[in-house]
Symmetry: C2
Subunit: 334 residues, 2 copies
């Protein structure tokens, strides 16, 4: 193909004031970089938006005007790197743009025979492996457990809960709104409780008659404070997110809830483990792929069309308005 002379990209235009809005970003067109020795040019096919990307938007984070970071599935359109050939489908972190030039570091080839290539951004990518990490090696989920998953409609939570079901546990999701809760239950969760409902705490308690043994926490904040009240003695908490607090500055004013948490950790003999990133061990991927193949893990997607929709998709995903499952943006023609 003819290589492009221009690249379209989305940059950070303003630091979000609280909630992220599409207007915090700007689409711009820049000259395409030249392909250097040992480099590849990729055309972005699919772009992923994920909650962690919120973290770098505050003060001290990425510069205003800089390219938005993010995971992609791309096609190699030019290569002077012997490790890649034109036509390869690769997963990497090339950001919110339609073409990128890189030395190929951190790129991994996607095997299209495993399923739709978007699964490399979802159930067979970072979100799925994050869910697996928190449930299996960290959370040690077992059939006798009652598991609660916050952000159960999200790309990570929806997989985490289904992993719990795959091993035979009782799994209760937490999500925002009756519609999303119904979608989560349709994935096989035993129940899904709406945190926006006035009787959230009572409903959660009713959904967990034997208490909670494992809490997979994507959210933190007020939702987690309610869940902590239902934790059993020696319960485990796998924490991979705190997006519920991301719109707050550190040590935001309010009652200091740290003493209460600390007392709960001791009195309930909790084991709280934080983790970031995902266990990329081959056996984790194999187990996940097996569950997907056996139909035990569904992986719904919400597709936004076009790079210019990335800001809206990101804001919708963070605001819980993008539906259940993985949010991806179709950038290329594939």
């Amino acid at each position: 193909m003819t290589l492009p002379s221009k690249v379209r990209q989305v940059v950070l235009a303003a630091r979000p004031a609280g909630k992220v809005a599409a207007s915090d970003f700007r689409l711009e067109t820049v000259d395409a970089p030249a392909l250097g020795e040992g480099e590849i040019m990729t055309r972005t096919l699919w772009l992923s938006v994920d909650p962690y990307m919120r973290l770098s938007l505050g003060e001290g984070g990425q510069a205003l005007g800089s390219l938005m970071n993010g995971g992609t599935v791309s096609e190699v359109v030019a290569s002077s790197n012997p490790a890649f050939k034109v036509g390869d489908i690769v997963e990497g972190r090339t950001g919110w743009r339609d073409y990128a030039v890189s030395n190929g570091q951190g790129m991994t080839r996607v095997d299209p025979s495993l399923g739709p290539i978007t699964t490399a951004l979802g159930v067979l990518g970072m979100p799925g492996l994050t869910a697996h990490t928190g449930m299996v090696p960290v959370g040690k989920v077992k059939a006798e457990d009652t598991v609660v998953v916050s952000s159960a409609g999200g790309a990570v939570g929806s997989i985490a809960g289904q992993i719990g079901k795959a091993v035979g546990a009782r799994v209760v999701g937490i999500a925002g709104g009756a519609k999303k809760c119904a979608e989560v239950e349709a994935l096989g969760f035993d129940a899904c409780v709406d945190y926006q409902a006035a009787d959230f705490a009572a409903k959660l308690k009713a959904a967990c008659p034997n208490g909670v043994d494992l809490y997979f926490d994507n959210v933190g904040a007020a939702v987690s404070q309610v869940v902590f009240q239902q934790l059993n003695l020696e319960a485990r908490v796998s924490v991979c997110g705190f997006i519920g607090w991301s719109d707050l500055s550190d040590a935001a004013p309010g009652p200091n809830q740290l003493p209460a948490l600390y007392k709960t950790i001791v009195m309930k003999r909790l084991r709280i483990t934080g983790f970031t990133g995902a266990n990329k061990a081959a056996d984790a991927m194999q187990q996940l792929a097996g569950w997907v193949k056996d139909g035990k893990i569904a992986h719904p997607e919400r597709v936004y069309e076009g790079l210019d929709q990335a800001p809206q998709a990101f804001a919708d995903m963070l605001g819980g308005r993008a539906g259940t499952g993985k949010v991806v943006i179709r950038v290329g023609p594939a």
Copy 2:
């Protein structure tokens, strides 16, 4: 011996307003109970005061006017229970009184050949086993670790730190005041940092040039917030106490530090484990007794004389004024 007709006991006279004071308790004399079928009468020889006893003094805790709870080493002075004979030395929780009648449940015989019988309240009792639990099965201490121990002068912390040294780790204590820090260092800690000093955070950092791998936390509160800043990636935190917050009501006003803690848990991939009580497994006791016998664990005691001094001993211990090591009260003539 002639059994007593009266028993002296210490009761809770007032709920502590913030710090515990000796005046929150009252010594009184009551009629001695009769010895029923299957029961034993014990004469209290030694009484233990421990931080956890603070927890039951607040609203909703033990009733005003009720006997103070607490661990004791006693001598059986009368028995109609075939499991115990007169002259047995037993450890139990008979409370702040000079004689007690019980059915013997929860009492264990003390072997005086293992060492002074007060060790059943200290290094070879609940505090020592608590230290062992937090360091060995929970904290998984190893020679490569830098360990920080809060309340390092206390009955639990002083043992915890010496367990760290026994396995070859670098151990840094935290205690209040230069005198106590010197006493802690005399126990073999590599360093002890004074949390009352203005440059506490800088001193702690300097004492841990490779960061902190394991934090044995007896305290919570502001001390822990400073330690958390020095934790390494994937550090472990063993939490068995939050006495630093015990004088506060839950959710005391102040900046809400929970978001910052939660973010730290995730970003540093911490493993925080709460525990109460102690692992009474025989192998734990054996390991501890071996270290004591080999001189690897010293166990200083501060002795208060007489049951009437129990309130002062308790207040001093909580206020950090009782010196380094285990605080015991000599009640009986032994």
